[in-house]
Structure formats: structure tokens, C-alpha cells
């Protein structure tokens, strides 16, 4: 039987503080100029290194190199991936720009693999809108070009944004799958560790003993608030509007608490030892998800004695 699985995409627009060397390099790209960095041994690195690998000193000698160069080696990619320079087949090439001593990895828009060869001459195809970013070089294309007339360097770029998107497929374990399928039937199950005999909800390999759980145990939809916090602060990724209470709820029959929301009671009345019951969403909306339980609310029972949950703090 296949276990439940679902996609997960995470994305964030990271920033990069460029510092003095890469800041000048990016400013050059904006002006359609490629700046290399000369290290103490006389070699010109493109892109420039921030620190000399031999002397360890900061690299300060930046020199302009040509916007065209020679393919040192290459491969062909028939199916470009998201985020690559071109979204049609292209050559990945190591390109040594004229005046540089190192090769730059970039895309060559050559049309077909047959048009690629080691030693071929290529030139930069500049992006139409240049902002001081590595993407100001759209790609390379067959041909040659010469550097523009010399001119003053413009102000270094201080910051660059690099959006990153990652795609995953989350596949559940056998235990998680069993737990989710029970939730879809309105049941909460745990599993007992054969070594320590503790009941874990959700069920999992025992973190203390490292062994697979065995006996399936149905636990109650009610339990005790062991401890909690009142969230008053907004933050990225938040799904609820503050203030709200997130509590550790020790379900009756379980040996480890689960975090959940406590609603249906003012935040200032939530307390350690409060007895609560699961509030399920409408049955029509149930799925294989913990979201079937909307939140927990006071059950009306007397508070649990501290000793009954002190071992779970």
C-alpha cells in the first residue's frame, strides 16, 4: 500500500549584501562591463574573488575584461530546469572571457548541440533591463564582441535579491499514514513503544528507544493542558490573528503532549491543568489531516492535579 504523499513548495526572496568587490562587479554588469579581480599572482578571476586564496588579502585590483571569450568545455541540456538562464535547450559551458584567467559557467544559446564545440567564440547577450544583478548577463551566444569605450565606474551595488524556490514531495511514514487515515474517520490513534511502553501520539519510531512502535492505541479526544503560551506577536508564515493560545495538550491515554490551539475561552483564563476536549470540524470537511480538529476548548471538568502532568513538562 502506498502511504499518503503531497507536494511542498517553499520559497523566499533572500537578499545578498555584496560587499566592496562583488558590489563593483554587479555595478559593472549594469553598465555592460565585466570586471575581473587580479590576485597577487597576476591571475584575473571572473567573477572576482573577495579574498586572495594565496595571500589571504582582500582583492582590490579590479580590471575590465572583454564581453566575449572562448568555450573551454561544455555539455548540452535538453530539458532546462526552473530557474536556469534559458527555458529552451542550451549548452552549459565553461567560458574564459578574453583577459581573464579563469572560466565562468554560463548558458550558451547555440540552438543545438551540433553548433557547440570546444574553442568556439561566444559573447554576452545582455539583459534588456539591467539592475546590477548576476542576471544582467542573460546568456552567451555564438560570436564576438569588444568592450565598450572606457568610462568611469558607477557606484557599487550594495544589495542583490535572489529568489529561491524549492519543491519537495512529502511522503508519510507508515505510522503517520495510519494516524492520518484514522483522523479521517474521526479517531485519534497512537502507538505503543514495545521497549518503554509509552504511547506516542502521533505514532512514530520511539525517539528514546529507536524502535518501531507496535500496538495501536485509540486515545481520547480530551486531555489536559500541561503548559502553554499566549501568542501576541505577528510573524511571517502565521495562519491566525494574534492573540491566541498554543498549548501542549496531554490526551488521556497518551504519554506525550501534542501542541494545539485553545479557543472558546479568553486567553487569560487558560491555565496549566485545564481540562479540554477536541472540537472537530464538520464531518463533511474531514480529510486525512490533523486540521479535522479545529481546536481544543474547555471540557468543563475540574482542573487536573499538577502531579498528573508534572512528568510531561
Amino acid at each position: 500500500m502506498e502511504t499518503l504523499a503531497a507536494p511542498l513548495t517553499i520559497a523566499f526572496d533572500y537578499t545578498r549584501s555584496l560587499g566592496p568587490v562583488l558590489g563593483r562587479f554587479m555595478a559593472g554588469l549594469r553598465d555592460r562591463r565585466v570586471m575581473g579581480g587580479r590576485t597577487a599572482d597576476g591571475r584575473v578571476h571572473v567573477p572576482p574573488l573577495e579574498y586572495d586564496p594565496v595571500t589571504h588579502e582582500p582583492v582590490t585590483d579590479l580590471v575590465e575584461v572583454a564581453p566575449s571569450g572562448t568555450v573551454i568545455s561544455w555539455t548540452w541540456t535538453g530539458r532546462p530546469l526552473e530557474g536556469q538562464p534559458l527555458d529552451w535547450p542550451f549548452g552549459w559551458a565553461l567560458i574564459r572571457l578574453d583577459g581573464a584567467d579563469t572560466a565562468l559557467l554560463h548558458a550558451v544559446d547555440a540552438g543545438s548541440a551540433e553548433a557547440m564545440r570546444t574553442g568556439m567564440r561566444v559573447r554576452i547577450r545582455w539583459a534588456a533591463d539591467r539592475v546590477g544583478h548576476i542576471r544582467d548577463i542573460e546568456c552567451f551566444e555564438p560570436g564576438t564582441a569588444t568592450a565598450g569605450p572606457p568610462g568611469p565606474e558607477s557606484e557599487p551595488v550594495t544589495m542583490m535579491t535572489t529568489p529561491i524556490r524549492l519543491h519537495y514531495r512529502h511522503t508519510t511514514s507508515v505510522e503517520e499514514d495510519r494516524y492520518l487515515r484514522a483522523l479521517a474517520e474521526g479517531r485519534i490513534i497512537g502507538q505503543r513503544c514495545p521497549a518503554c511502553r509509552k504511547v506516542y501520539v502521533p505514532p512514530r519510531f520511539c525517539p528514546a528507544d529507536g524502535v518501531a512502535p507496535d500496538e495501536v492505541v485509540e486515545v481520547a479526544g480530551r486531555g489536559t493542558v500541561t503548559t502553554f503560551c499566549v501568542v501576541n506577536v505577528p510573524f511571517a508564515g502565521q495562519r491566525l490573528t494574534p492573540p491566541y493560545v498554543v498549548a501542549q495538550v496531554l490526551l488521556d491515554g497518551a504519554d506525550i503532549p501534542v501542541p494545539h490551539l485553545i479557543l472558546g475561552v479568553p486567553a487569560e483564563e487558560v491555565r496549566m491543568g485545564l481540562r479540554v476536549a477536541a472540537v472537530w470540524r464538520d464531518r463533511a470537511d474531514w480529510g486525512t489531516t490533523p486540521e479535522n480538529i479545529s481546536h481544543f476548548a474547555p471540557s468543563g471538568e475540574p482542573d487536573a492535579a499538577y502531579e498528573t502532568y508534572a512528568e510531561h513538562l
Partner: protein, 383 residues
């Protein structure tokens, strides 16, 4: 076992946004200062150990790859250490182990975080499929455990604020600190917004850009140094699962076990009497009394009493975080190494305005993950 010593330390000027430097530049600010403080140069560094918090924080996969030449690692071994927030401490311990094993004479340990490049809170709040949207943020993770501590120990509610006042005023004595608040008061802390009840805004660490570096050497390197070194008396690391049935989030077993091993290795019978100053990893003020108990300076439920009596201030029985600690500067990956470096600076007599007079034995402490990883060292003025 071979002896090892801290020859020199360096740290950046920690700020919320160091947009003037790249990650490489940030590391080099700390490294160049450490080399100068150690009175050594690149030709004498045999290996480099790099620590930082999870790669997702800045979104750079294995930053040691692109940082290699900037860290002076070309032609030398370069190791990367990962143990979440405790990584700075673990980085120093890996470097120490390389010396004690007799592999190298001088090792550079460096750790950094450039929090402004990303959003650590976002990185910690990613919600996988099939999970409930019960997100509370980093403070929301630790706040319930602080509530448990207060309940268990009977601590009065102002203890957390007392720690915040002490650390922020200490930070004002530290030129590298991100937050420097000489005028903070108990009243102003208590008037600050309650973020994650029971944690207030002023009882919470900032988000910082920063780096720290230390040069660790063997006995020959230490004896050839013409400056005071910090002898590494003992190191300890312990790990436990983030969650397991019976986990004690207030007094984690791994922290207590690491401390017990540490004191034993260092030959320390009574830590409160024998340790002159401690740099504890305190990202939320209430962790000071919790860790005082966890590492065994005082018994269960007694930590807050030491705080309330003012004994953890500079001049008290056990000054804690004279540098201002994590509450004043929190470049996460570097925060643990900063604790270790500040402990060394105290016994080397090079802590400047936040120097504890006569400090000869000091504790550096770090923890990470959901109180999962613990790393500690004891350093002393004499071998």
C-alpha cells in the same frame, strides 16, 4: 590528553543589518581580529573549522564551498559543523579536539550568521503537508517551557525582567554588542509588550548579523605566545531527542549530563565556588535561572534566587553574561562561539569594560534545537 588553549579571539561589531559586508567580509572581520589578538598569522594556521546555523536561514547551501578562500582554507582542511543554535560551541570543541588529538598545532574556528539576508523565523515556521497550522514562532516554542519553570520553581514574575536589565546594561559595556541599553530599567522592561506570554519584548534576543573567531593552539603554540592564553580545561557535548515521552524541557537531561561530565573533567567539585564567570546561552531572559540549575551551579528551583539577589551581576558571586550575552547580540550560528570566546576573554584579562576582576576560571555554554544539543567548555588562566 594533550593540552589546548585559546590563543586569541575576534568578533564583529554585531548589528541588525551589516549591509556593508558580504558573508565573507563578515567572517573576515572576526577572523582578522582573532589572528591579531592571537599574535599569529595565516602561515601558522593548520586547519579551519566553520560553524553556522541551518543553511535555510540564508538560503546558501553549504556556504563553506564559496567561502573557502575567504576563510583562508585553500590548501588546508576545512570542516563544517552543524548543531543548530549550539553550533558555535560545537565548532570550538571540534577545533579543540583537532588540537588535543595531536593532528594540528593551530586551528582557526569561525562561526557566523547573517540574519538580515533572510528571516530565521520564516525558516523555522515552514509547514509540511499533513501538519496542523499550529505555528507559534521561536519564542512560542520556548515560552511554554518558561511557564513550566515558573510553576515548578515558584519564581516571582519579575525575575525574567531582572535578567533582561542586567544583560542589556552589561551589553552597554561591550563595544561589539548589537543592543546597548545603559538606561534600561525594571519598569521599562515590564512595560514592554508581551510577545509570547510569559516572554516580553525586552526579554527576547535580537536578530543580528555577526561572526566570531578563535585561534586554538597546542601547548607549544601557547608557550610561544607572548600574551596570556585561555587554557581549555574541559569540553563536553551531549545530545537528546527534541521530543520524547518524559522529556524535561525545563531541566534537559543532555544539558545536565554535559555539565556533570564537564565539571568532572575539569576537576571542579563546587562550580559556584570555583567558577568566576559564566557565559550562558540565554536567548530569552528566563533561561538564565533555568540554566543555572541545569548546569549545576545551584539546585533545582534555586536559580531565580541567585538572580533576584543580584549575584549574577558583574561584582556578584557568579557574574553571568558580562558581555550582554545572546540577549544583546544574536547572530545565531556565532552566538555559541561568542559565549566560548567571551569566557576565554575573561580569563585572558582582555574583556575590556565588562571584565570581571580576577577571573581565572570561566564557563562557556551553548544549546541548540529544541533544547537538544548542548556544548560547554571551561577555560582557565593557568593550565
Amino acid at each position: 590528553m594533550r593540552r589546548a588553549a585559546v590563543l586569541g579571539t575576534g568578533q564583529t561589531d554585531h548589528r541588525s543589518r551589516r549591509t556593508d559586508v558580504s558573508m565573507a567580509g563578515l567572517c573576515r572581520e572576526a577572523i582578522d581580529r582573532a589572528l591579531a589578538d592571537a599574535g599569529t598569522d595565516w602561515s601558522q594556521i593548520d586547519a579551519v573549522v566553520l560553524g553556522k546555523a541551518p543553511d535555510l536561514f540564508e538560503g546558501v547551501m553549504m556556504p563553506e564551498l564559496f567561502l573557502a578562500q575567504s576563510l583562508g582554507a585553500v590548501g588546508k582542511p576545512l570542516l563544517r559543523v552543524h548543531t543548530a543554535g549550539s553550533v558555535g560551541g560545537a565548532t570550538a570543541i571540534v577545533a579543540t579536539s583537532l588540537i588535543r588529538a595531536g593532528v594540528h598545532r593551530r586551528v582557526l574556528a569561525v562561526a557566523f550568521e547573517k540574519q538580515s539576508e533572510s528571516n530565521a523565523m520564516w525558516a523555522l515556521s515552514i509547514q509540511p503537508p499533513f501538519s496542523a497550522p499550529i505555528t507559534a514562532g521561536a519564542g512560542g516554542y520556548f515560552a511554554p517551557h518558561i511557564r513550566s519553570y515558573i510553576r515548578r520553581s515558584g519564581a516571582p514574575p519579575h525575575v525574567g525582567a531582572l535578567v533582561a536589565v542586567k544583560d542589556r546594561r552589561n551589553g552597554a559595556l561591550n563595544p561589539h554588542a548589537h543592543l546597548r541599553q545603559p538606561d534600561i530599567t525594571l519598569e521599562s522592561v515590564q512595560a514592554s509588550p508581551m510577545l509570547w506570554d510569559p516572554i516580553r519584548y525586552d526579554e527576547t534576543c535580537p536578530s543580528s548579523d555577526g561572526a566570531c573567531a578563535v585561534v586554538i593552539g597546542d601547548a607549544a603554540a601557547a608557550s610561544s605566545s607572548d600574551r596570556q592564553v585561555a587554557w581549555i580545561k574541559a569540553t563536553a557535548m551531549r545530545t537528546e531527542p527534541t521530543f520524547y515521552s518524559g522529556k524535561d524541557h525545563v531541566d534537559p537531561r543532555a544539558g545536565a549530563a554535559a555539565a556533570a561530565a564537564l565539571w568532572d573533567l575539569a576537576g571542579i567539585k563546587n562550580p559556584l565556588d570555583e567558577v568566576d564567570v559564566a557565559e550562558l546561552y540565554v536567548p530569552f531572559s528566563w533561561f538564565e535561572p533555568m540554566w543555572l540549575e541545569n548546569v549545576g551551579f545551584v539546585g533545582p528551583g534555586q536559580g531565580w534566587k541567585l538572580v533576584e539577589a543580584g549575584e549574577t551581576r558583574i561584582g556578584g558571586t557568579l557574574p553571568v553574561n558580562p558581555s550582554g550575552g545572546v540577549l544583546c547580540s544574536n547572530p545565531i550560528g556565532a552566538s555559541g562561539l561568542l559565549r566560548f570566546a567571551e569566557a576565554a576573554m575573561q580569563v585572558m584579562g582582555r574583556a575590556g569594560e565588562h571584565q570581571v576582576a580576577g577571573a581565572s576560571t570561566a564557563l562557556g555554554h551553548a544549546y541548540g534545537g529544541g533544547s537538544q544539543f548542548f556544548s560547554m567548555w571551561v577555560v582557565g588562566r593557568t593550565p
